[in-house]
Symmetry: none
Subunit: 240 residues, 2 copies
């Protein structure tokens, strides 16, 4: 987890709205170190503009701000359709603590009192983003006598349980998502491995082989089709 992609387009975007520059920079630095894309601004009214352009994945909001107050921004976020569920962490100075109820009632998802430890805030950011992440549609994929259950992570062929390693599981999942469709090795690397960067395309062959062996233990027909020069596909005519 050490080397960080420079501009990963999938990285969560975080907006920091904080007028105390030292703090703002500190947070930005640490967030970027964890791979987030960070935007900063100092005034409440500026934040409004940024939020209109394209909402980030999370907002860190100071309570007291020049321009429009943090609490007001939060209220407006909650009122607008596109940002209603946008995770918000509110920062507040000690002494404003009694305002806590009010802060949460406006719709902040979490609440941190200054001074706080950076690791603590990082943890809360992670937690909120984790919770906001759209859950994978849990369901069951099936074709012929082969079944894959995303919820229980179980794979069966006929009556027998099939044991797959994590990679083979994801590979079958991907293939089964669209039976018949041909996936190039590059596409499979992208979907199954995520970081297509430093993995040899031939590795896909090996994993397809392993998947085949696991699925066709005896003399059962091979459900995976090799398309020479193109890639692999789950055989849509399989089981008919």
């Amino acid at each position: 987890m050490s080397s960080r992609e420079a501009t990963n387009t999938n990285a969560p975007r975080v907006l920091i709205v904080e007028d105390e520059e030292a703090l703002s920079l500190l947070l930005a630095y640490n967030l970027e170190a964890e791979g987030y894309v960070v935007e900063r601004c100092e005034r409440g009214d500026d934040a409004e503009l940024l939020l209109l352009e394209g909402p980030p994945d999370l907002v860190i909001l100071d309570w007291m701000l020049p321009g429009v107050s943090g609490i007001e921004i939060c209220r407006r976020l909650r009122a607008r359709e596109g940002t209603r569920t946008l995770p918000v962490i509110m920062l507040t100075a000690r002494g404003e603590e009694d305002e806590r109820v009010r802060g949460l009632s406006v719709g902040a998802d979490d609440y941190v009192v200054k001074p706080f430890s950076v690791p603590e805030l990082m943890a809360r950011v992670r937690a909120l983003l984790r919770r906001a992440a759209p859950e994978r549609i849990a369901g069951r994929l099936a074709a012929g006598d082969i079944e894959l259950d995303r919820e229980t992570h179980r794979v069966r062929r006929g009556a027998r349980d099939v044991h797959l390693g994590p990679t083979e599981f994801r590979l079958l999942d991907r293939l089964l998502e669209k039976p018949g469709r041909v996936f190039t090795r590059a596409q499979l690397l992208d979907a199954v491995w995520g970081n297509t960067a430093e993995i040899d395309e031939r590795t896909v062959d090996v994993h397809v082989g392993r998947l085949r062996k696991a699925l066709s233990h005896g003399r059962e027909p091979d459900p995976i089709r090799t398309i020479r020069g193109a890639g692999y596909a789950f055989d849509e005519t399989f089981g008919r």
Copy 2:
């Protein structure tokens, strides 16, 4: 374990969406005889309205419907948060069988081909409700010879009392809430430890280990499944 009062408010509610009235009435009659509360409707778009009002505990859905098709309803159920795990049994005429893959991929939990025997359908209804039930019956979760009572905060395995620390108790509670489902460490941290996410994910391992040791004191089989690279699940096949 299943005899129920006729108008028990806790009785599971079943919604039948079927345009063939004879069949619809037959099913309703048999389901009510087993103590379920039954609602019927004939059109797909009517079903949508009923489902919005208050989701039942199970839906029996005809494939071909006037208005909105069964498959479409199922897809929408799966897309909406509150009904994502709502059990669905799909009815289809012979000849539509080849659409089976599509039906299951949309997220139906079970699939029955007309004509079918009534006892068979009843069995499937029972099976599905049993699987989904633990979520609803507040107070007591059970699977195999393991029992967890939320009221008395007590856990038993067979005849013996199992002593668990608070964390292990909540952990088992969470796992037992949806037997079979795989929970990632992050999800377990959220559910069991709460929002203070400054906890290492590996800590979950330790507590699962402790839970295992407490549950399987002697040579009893381990009811918790480790899914490499994914998380943990209570083994739903446990005790069958």
